[in-house]
C-alpha cells in the first residue's frame, strides 16, 4: 500500500505546488498592475469627478439606471429614493417590476404617483409580456415597467427596451450606492467614450454598516467571523481578480450588482441571456466576442477600483454555500460553453485570462482540496516528506498569505473604508485566519457547484436571509 501511495502523494504534491506557483505568481502580477491602476485612479478620478460635476449636462454621458425588482415591496421605495439622490448631471431610473406577487407595484404607484404612459419600446429586445409602463408625476425621470415574471436577465432586457439614454447601469435594487457612484463609474466613458464599452465597480460588504436614507453613513464591519472572512475574500478578489486585468483588457466579470454598459454594444452582442446561470459574466464574454469577431474594432472593458456599491452578504453557512455553488455553476456554464475563447485571436484574454480562469477559478478547487487530502493521507501513513511540506507551506500558504495581506494593506492605504484602527486590525487578523479553514470550505462548495453543473443537476437556489442595516 505504502509503495503505491508514496509516488502518488508525491505526484499530487508536485502538481499542487506547480498549481500554487502559477496561481500565486499570476496574483502577484495582477496585484502589481492593480496597484498601478489604483495609484493612477487615485490621482485621476477625483479630478475627473470635479470636472464632471462642473461640466454642462451635454458633456456628461447620460445614464439610465435599470433596477429589476421581484417581491421587494418593503425596500423598493427606499431604493428608488436613494437612486434619485445620486450625484450626476443627467440620469433616469427604470424600475422593472418582474411579476412580483407582493405589493411592489402598489407601493411604487402610491409613493411616486405613477401614471400610465405609452413609451417607445425597442423591438430588438425580447422579454416576457409587459403589462404596463408608468411614469412618476413627481419625478419625471422615474419610469416603472410592470411585466410578467421572467427572471433578472429578462427584467433588465425589458428595462433596456424603454430606457432612452446611451449608457445604462444595471443595479440590484437591494444594493446601496455611494453618492457619487455614477460619477466615478462614468469616468472611463468620459475619458474615452468611443472605446469604452463597459465598466464595473468594486463592491463592499454592507453587513454591520449604518445606512441612513439609502446612504452608508458609517462604514463598519459586522462581528460575525464568516462575514469578516468574506470581507477579506472580497478585497482580494476585487483587487487581484478584477482590477488587475484592466492592464490586459481582459476583464471577464462585471458584477450584476453594479455595472455601467454602452447600450448599443449590449444590444449588438444580443443583450442579456435569460437562460444563463451567470448572466453578468456571460454578457461580458459576449461583449468581448462581439468586438473581436463581429465589429473588429478596438474596445475596452474596465474595472474601476473605487468602492461604489455596498451589498449584504450571507452570514450563515447555508446561504453562503448556496451562493458559492451558484457562482461556480455560473462560471462553469460560461467557461465551458465558450471553450473557443482559448485562442490567440483574443490576445491577452485568450492567452492569459481565460487559461487563468480555467485553471485557477474553475479547476483550482480540485488542486487545493486534493493537496490537503494528500497531506492527511501522508500523515496517516507516516510518509510525510518534510521538505515537500515546507515547500508547499512556502508557496501555497505563505506566498498566498502575502497576496491577501498586501491586498488588505492596499485597500486600507487607498480607500480607508475601515473606520477605526481596531477594525483595521480585525481585517488584518482575518487576513491570516481566512487562509485556514474558510478557503478550504469555499473550495469544497466550488467543487460541489462544478459537479452539479457537469452533471446538469437542477438545484433550488433558496432565498438569502438578511439582517438589514441599522
Amino acid at each position: 500500500m505504502k509503495e503505491f501511495l508514496v509516488p502518488l502523494i508525491q505526484a499530487v504534491f508536485v502538481v499542487s505546488i506547480g498549481y500554487y506557483t502559477f496561481a500565486n505568481t499570476i496574483y502577484l502580477v495582477l496585484l502589481f498592475f492593480a496597484y498601478r491602476d489604483i495609484r493612477r485612479s487615485k490621482l485621476q478620478t477625483p479630478l475627473m469627478i470635479q470636472e464632471l460635476r462642473s461640466t454642462p449636462p451635454a458633456f456628461a454621458p447620460a445614464i439610465s439606471i435599470i433596477a429589476p425588482a421581484y417581491n421587494e415591496a418593503l425596500t423598493v421605495v427606499a431604493s428608488v429614493k436613494s437612486f434619485l439622490l445620486l450625484n450626476y448631471p443627467v440620469f433616469e431610473v427604470v424600475v422593472v417590476n418582474d411579476g412580483s406577487k407582493d405589493r411592489t407595484l402598489e407601493e411604487l404607484t402610491a409613493h411616486f404617483k405613477l401614471v400610465e404612459e405609452h413609451t417607445f419600446q425597442d423591438s430588438r429586445l425580447t422579454h416576457a409580456r409587459v403589462r404596463g409602463i408608468y411614469r412618476s408625476e413627481i419625478h419625471p425621470n422615474v419610469i416603472v415597467v410592470d411585466k410578467e415574471n421572467g427572471g433578472k436577465a429578462d427584467a433588465i432586457n425589458a428595462g433596456l427596451a424603454v430606457s432612452k439614454y446611451p449608457l445604462f447601469c444595471a443595479v440590484d435594487s437591494d444594493s446601496v450606492l455611494e453618492e457619487d457612484a455614477l460619477l466615478r463609474i462614468a469616468v472611463p466613458f468620459f475619458e474615452d467614450p468611443e472605446k469604452t464599452v463597459a465598466a464595473g465597480g468594486t463592491i463592499r460588504l454592507l453587513n454591520g454598516s449604518k445606512v441612513v436614507h439609502g446612504r452608508v453613513t458609517r462604514p463598519s464591519l459586522a462581528r460575525e467571523p464568516l462575514v469578516l472572512m468574506q470581507n477579506v475574500e472580497y478585497i482580494r478578489a476585487f483587487l487581484c481578480g478584477r482590477v488587475g486585468w484592466n492592464a490586459f483588457n481582459a476583464t471577464l466579470v462585471i458584477s450584476g450588482a453594479f455595472g455601467l454598459f454602452k447600450k448599443e454594444a449590449v444590444l449588438g452582442a444580443g443583450a442579456y441571456n435569460k437562460n444563463s446561470i451567470g448572466e453578468d459574466m456571460e454578457l461580458v464574454v459576449r461583449l468581448h466576442r462581439y468586438y473581436t469577431e463581429t465589429k473588429k474594432e478596438p474596445y475596452r472593458i474596465v474595472f474601476i477600483p473605487d468602492p461604489v456599491c455596498w451589498t449584504e452578504v450571507p452570514f450563515e453557512l447555508g446561504s453562503l454555500s448556496r451562493q458559492r455553488v451558484r457562482w461556480q455553476r455560473g462560471l462553469a456554464d460560461t467557461l465551458l460553453s465558450n471553450r473557443d475563447l482559448l485562442s490567440w485571436r483574443y490576445r491577452a484574454l485568450g492567452l492569459v485570462a481565460v487559461p487563468y480562469f480555467y485553471l485557477v477559478e474553475l479547476w483550482g478547487p480540485l488542486f487545493e482540496i486534493g493537496n490537503w487530502i494528500a497531506i492527511l493521507l501522508a500523515y496517516a501513513f507516516g510518509i510525510l516528506n518534510q521538505e515537500l511540506l515546507l515547500l508547499f507551506f512556502l508557496i501555497g500558504i505563505v506566498y498566498g498569505l502575502f497576496m491577501t495581506l498586501m491586498a488588505v494593506l492596499i485597500e486600507e492605504k487607498y480607500f480607508r473604508k475601515q473606520s477605526s484602527l481596531s477594525e483595521f486590525c480585525l481585517v488584518f487578523l482575518f487576513g491570516f485566519l481566512e487562509t485556514f479553514g474558510f478557503r478550504q470550505l469555499t473550495s469544497f462548495w466550488r467543487i460541489k457547484g462544478l459537479w452539479l453543473q457537469l452533471t446538469k443537476q437542477q438545484t433550488v437556489w433558496g432565498e438569502m436571509k438578511r439582517k438589514g442595516s441599522s
Binding site: L28, S54, F59, E191, P193, E194, Y399, K413, F424
Partner: protein
C-alpha cells in the same frame, strides 16, 4: 546557509534534478528576495496609512478655516487675510475652488482675484506644461472650473496630449472661445486630430452659439468635409432655420451618402416647409436609409404631405420602409 543548501538539495532530489540543484537554489533565493521586498512594502504601506490619516485630519481642519475666511471676505472684502504658511497654500486653493461652484457674478470675480493674488493662476498655467501627466491634468481641471477659455496660447500643446482625458477637457475649454481666429483653429484641430464623436458634437454645438456664421462657412471649405455630418446634426438638433438653404444645397450636391442622409434628418428636425420639395424627391431615392430619413422628416414638417405619398410607399420593395410606413400610419395620422 547549511540548511538552505540541504533544503534545495532535497527539493531537487524530489523533482529529479539533483544535477541541477543550482536551479532550485536560484528559485529559492529569488523567492526569498521577493518575500523580502514584499515585507518591505508591507512596512511602508503600514506607515503611510498613518501619515495619510494625519494628513486628512489637517486638511479637513485647514479647509474649514479657509472656507470660513473666504465667506467672510466675500461679505466684507476689507477683512484681514489669514496667515497662509507655504505648506498650507494648497488647502486655501482647494477652498477657493470649492466655492467657485456656488458663487457667481461679483463674488466669483472676487474669488478669481484672490486666486490670482496668491499666485495660483500663474502656477496652474505653468503646470500645464509639466511633464507629469497628472500635474497637467490637475492644473487643467482647476483652471477649467472658472468657465473661462484659456486660449490656444496655453492649450495648443494639450490638444495633442497622450492622455485622452486631458484632450477632452482641452477641447471642451477651447470651445468657450469668443475669438473667431481661435474658433477657426479649433475647427481645424477637430478635423486633424482624433477626437470622439460625442465630444465633436458638443464642441460644434458650443461654437454654434458664439460663432454661427463661422460654423456655416464650413460648408464652403473643402478641408471641413469630414466635419459636415456632425455639423449637419448639430444644425438639426439646434433648429438653425437660417441654415435650411445651405442644407438643401448640400443635400442636392454632395456625393456622400452619409452627409445626404443626415441632411435629410436635420431638415425634418428644423421643420421648415422649404425642404418639402427635396424630401418628396428623396422618397424616390434608391437608398433605403435616405428614404427613411425623408419619410421621418416629412412627417415632422407636415403629416398631410406624408398622407399624399403613403400609397406609393406601402408597396416599397424594402421591408424596413414598409414597416416604418405602417408605424407612421398608426402614430402620425
Amino acid at each position: 546557509m547549511n540548511y538552505f543548501h540541504n533544503f534545495t538539495h532535497q527539493v531537487s532530489r524530489i523533482f529529479g534534478i539533483e544535477h541541477f540543484s543550482y536551479v532550485t537554489q536560484a528559485v529559492t533565493a529569488i523567492f526569498l528576495l521577493a518575500s523580502g521586498l514584499i515585507a518591505f512594502f508591507f512596512a511602508y504601506t503600514f506607515a503611510t496609512i498613518f501619515t495619510n490619516k494625519l494628513e486628512a485630519r489637517i486638511r479637513s481642519k485647514q479647509h474649514k478655516k479657509f472656507t470660513q475666511w473666504l465667506i467672510t471676505h466675500i461679505v466684507d472684502p476689507e477683512s484681514p487675510p489669514p496667515k497662509v504658511p507655504a505648506f498650507h497654500r494648497t488647502y486655501l486653493r482647494d477652498a477657493i475652488l470649492d466655492l467657485v461652484f456656488v458663487t457667481k457674478g461679483a463674488e466669483l470675480v472676487l474669488l478669481k482675484e484672490l486666486y490670482q493674488r496668491y499666485g495660483f493662476w500663474e502656477k496652474d498655467l505653468r503646470e500645464l506644461t509639466s511633464l507629469i501627466w497628472h500635474v497637467r491634468l490637475a492644473a487643467l481641471v482647476r483652471l477649467d472650473q472658472w468657465k473661462l477659455c484659456l486660449g490656444m496660447k496655453h492649450l495648443h500643446r494639450l490638444l495633442r496630449d497622450r492622455n485622452p482625458a486631458i484632450r477632452q477637457i482641452t477641447f471642451k475649454n477651447l470651445s468657450l472661445t469668443r475669438r473667431a481666429s481661435e474658433a477657426w483653429d479649433l475647427i481645424h484641430a477637430l478635423v486633424d486630430l482624433e477626437i470622439n464623436h460625442s465630444t465633436r458634437h458638443e464642441i460644434i454645438s458650443r461654437l454654434l452659439k458664439n460663432h454661427r456664421s463661422l460654423v456655416l462657412e464650413c460648408f464652403e471649405k473643402k478641408k471641413c468635409v469630414p466635419l459636415w455630418p456632425v455639423i449637419l446634426k448639430v444644425l438639426g438638433d439646434n433648429r438653425v432655420i437660417e441654415a435650411v438653404p445651405l442644407i438643401i444645397t448640400l443635400a442636392n450636391q454632395t456625393e456622400s451618402r452619409e452627409s445626404r442622409e443626415i441632411a435629410l434628418w436635420a431638415l425634418g428636425k428644423i421643420g421648415d416647409p422649404r425642404a418639402l420639395f427635396l424630401l418628396k424627391s428623396a422618397l424616390r431615392s434608391e437608398a433605403p436609409n435616405e428614404k427613411l430619413a425623408a419619410l421621418h422628416s416629412l412627417i415632422m414638417i407636415n403629416a398631410g404631405e406624408f398622407a399624399l405619398t403613403v400609397d406609393a410607399l406601402r408597396a416599397d420593395p424594402d421591408p424596413l420602409v414598409r414597416k416604418w410606413v405602417d408605424h407612421y400610419l398608426k402614430v402620425a395620422l
